[in-house]
Amino acid sequence: EPEVTQTPSHQVTQMGQEVILRCVPISNHLYFYWYRQILGQKVEFLVSFYNNEISEKSEIFDDQFSVERPDGSNFTLKIRSTKLEDSAMYFCASSVGGQGPSGQYFGPGTRLTVT
């Protein structure tokens, strides 16, 4: 069964450093998303991406964040200068349609720890 994959599974970085989180969405999916979940809190939407551009973004997704689809398979989230409060689980998701009946398929997540 196809699945969304994410690398690395755990990233430790120092405050102020740049990090890139990587995702390989399901191959025939057209919509891509990033979410984060701070420990013990809700899953929060960050950004959606379709047709090589951002379609929606939340207030969390400020200028420190960027997304890119550098080739036909990868989808990345970059945090330019990490802060302690960026420590969270980051999930990539993909879907065939925007909010279609088959839902969004989530990857296993990258745990980001900022020290």
Binding site: Y33, Y35, V43, F45, Q104, G109
Partner: protein, 107 residues
């Protein structure tokens, strides 16, 4: 502002003890209500999509229903492997998740 609220926050059941989880939403122009299951340290796993009041979906021991203001996830005769956090989310302009219900089923 779209809001999704789930109750209870946590639920302990004995194996075989049926119950229901609630998801209430205040969303203008609901475009879909999703249910997900999340196991510790993992990403949410899609369960159901509901679009209109009166709609029902079933999968094994789970049945999701939708009214104009809320959705219920009914769990019939649960087993320990049903233990997980169950999340609902509304698909407005962006997927807005509730806080989840942590379900623990004891053998």
């Amino acid at each position: 502002e779209d809001q999704v609220t789930q109750s209870p926050e946590a639920l302990r059941l004995q194996e075989g003890e049926s119950s229901s989880l609630n998801c209430s939403y205040t969303v203008s122009g609901l475009r879909g209500l999703f249910w997900y299951r999340q196991d510790p340290g993992k990403g949410p796993e899609f369960l159901f999509t509901l679009y209109s009041a009166g709609e029902e979906k079933e999968k094994e021991r789970l049945k999701a229903t939708l009214t104009k203001k809320e959705s219920f996830l009914h769990i019939t005769a649960p087993k320990p492997e049903d233990s997980a956090t169950y999340l609902c989310a509304d698909a407005g302009n962006m997927l807005t998740f509730g806080g989840g219900t942590r379900l623990m089923v004891k053998p």
